[in-house]
Amino acid sequence: MKNNPHTPESGEPFAKFLRKNLGDSLESQTTDMLEQSFEVRTMARLRGMESAGNNFWSFLDQLTPKLIPAFAMAGVLFLGLFWAEFGSNSGPLTFALELESAPTQDIVAFLLE
């Protein structure tokens, strides 16, 4: 092993040893290969990202008019339930909790009424 040229010579700086063994030969082979039409691949990815971003915003633009009535209806429904629960003596939530804790025979009797 000591005679191997890929081990550091005595007194050789470690950095030089690293450079000698990780020289550009191995890396340049990969780099040469990847360099081929690299800009084309990157620009394609860039355009893809740009169009995906544009598509997202245009999709959102199209969706907004449909979302507004849906959100409005959901809001009205929520307010209705809120009022029913807290604006009256026995709201749906209270009723559900009472029903859960009620004995089975009471529930059956209620359903049969």
Binding site: H6, F14, T30, E50
Partner: protein, 200 residues
């Protein structure tokens, strides 16, 4: 592509290409990619041996540069600004790789390491196989370093940059860079001596 060809022939200044890109001419950016792709690919290849990963890191560098281009102030050369982004991308890749490795694999003890066998098998001491085995062993040793240590030692010892340059590129203090590089060298020496590549 046409812009890229023109850039190659006439050496359009970076500032001009940056300005054109900012004005909405996305194609002008391919001129900058063409100019700096080799440098970025070479830097990325120091942090990974997988061609797909190198390609991905290099592409990520240019995509980040494109997205951050409005923040570019021409107080420093574009190349320096791009190098900072490249170093950051490589560091992020190492951190991601380390997290993934810790999550899914053991400390790497089970990995097949035949570099020493290959070196012993190689009768021709100056041959290609011995060179590849040595490079393989060093790459594996580099892979065992912490991301900051690997970035510091790679930029200092392989890219032959100064401590000040590395500090500027990474955003870490000069003292931090020196400490990380020193620790990295110590670790590398220890690992390589265990593998029989170094006589300590």
């Amino acid at each position: 592509m046409a812009v890229a060809m023109v850039v190659q022939e006439t050496e359009v200044p970076d500032e001009h290409l940056v300005q054109q890109t900012l004005e909405g001419n996305t194609e002008a950016f391919s001129g900058l990619i063409l100019k700096y792709k080799r440098r970025i690919l070479t830097m990325a290849s120091r942090f990974s041996r997988d061609a797909h990963t190198i390609d991905d890191i290099a592409q990520e560098v240019f995509i980040r540069a494109f997205q951050k281009l409005p923040q570019f102030r021409a107080t420093a050369p574009f190349e320096h600004w791009l190098s900072r982004i490249a170093v950051r991308c490589c560091y992020d890749h190492l951190r991601w790789h380390q997290r993934r490795h810790l999550l899914f694999f053991s400390s790497g003890e089970g990995e097949a390491d035949d570099s020493l066998d290959r070196l012993a098998r190689s009768n021709d001491q100056g041959g290609q196989e011995a060179r590849e085995a040595a490079a393989d062993a060093i790459h594996r040793a580099l892979g065992k370093l912490r991301p900051k240590e690997r970035v510091s030692v790679t930029l200092l010892d392989l890219e032959e940059r100064s401590v000040r340059e590395v500090a500027e590129l990474t955003g870490w203090s000069e003292a931090n860079v020196k400490v990380k590089a020193h620790r990295a060298r110590q670790k590398l020496k220890k690992i390589l001596s265990q593998k029989g590549f170094l006589d300590l």
